[in-house]
Symmetry: C2
Subunit: 101 residues, 2 copies
DNA sequence: GAGCTTGTTCGACAATTGTCGAACAAGGGT
DNA sequence: ACCCTTGTTCGACAATTGTCGAACAAGCTC
């Protein structure tokens, strides 16, 4: 199946924000930001693998991540540079669990 | 009734993002960013006043806006400084209708 | 090939959300 | 006092969304 990774400029801002506006997905994004490329299975945040797969798709289709196959696994990584270029400050604003007061 | 304007630090990031992840609300935020304080009625984006009221409440309860009464109107303004302090770059990333390529 | 691991997809379901019209509340103007 | 303007609140409804288990697909290892 086609991974369907859109051009980030073609994704409405609201979709990017909506993708980030979920606790599970935000944890995934933070894990990716900290750990770099990671397999889907490494994101165990108390949801089933069906749900995890769903969240990863939302992130991918919002242009936030890229996915490549590696054996039976799929490696996911954050599209950091593109995001920082198109929405400077957005990732930084969101990556910190508790922003500086 | 109490306006219920929460402390921004007490609002989860996902709520802030969710509040911004809607087209109508984003238009409201952009109008506020550009025009400063404005009456609720000035946001006519093709939705009924009930819906508009709903969106303004979402924004207010997410800590994005403040509201004060003025006659029969209610004036809304963006909590810009607080937002920029707590989530630097977030507003800027979101305010431009079409971000620079 | 058999079996295991890793993900995806497919309903299904509950909860949330965006939307509306109608009813209500509060102020201002005449 | 009456009406008009401005918003809010109250169901109601449709659409979307998060969640799951079960079934499926693809690849590795033995």
């Amino acid at each position: 199946m086609e991974p369907h990774e859109p051009d980030l400029t073609a994704v409405p801002v609201t979709s990017v924000l909506a993708a980030l506006a979920d606790d599970v997905r935000l944890q995934i994004v933070r894990a990716l930001a900290e750990g770099g490329e990671a397999a889907c299975g490494s994101f165990d945040f108390g949801v089933s693998k069906a749900t995890r797969s769903h969240h990863l798709r939302v992130l991918r289709e919002a242009g936030l991540t890229r996915t490549r196959a590696a054996g039976t696994s799929r490696l996911v990584r954050l599209r950091r540079d593109e995001l920082n270029k198109l929405y400077p400050g957005l990732l930084d604003a969101v990556l910190t669990p508790r922003p500086p007061a």
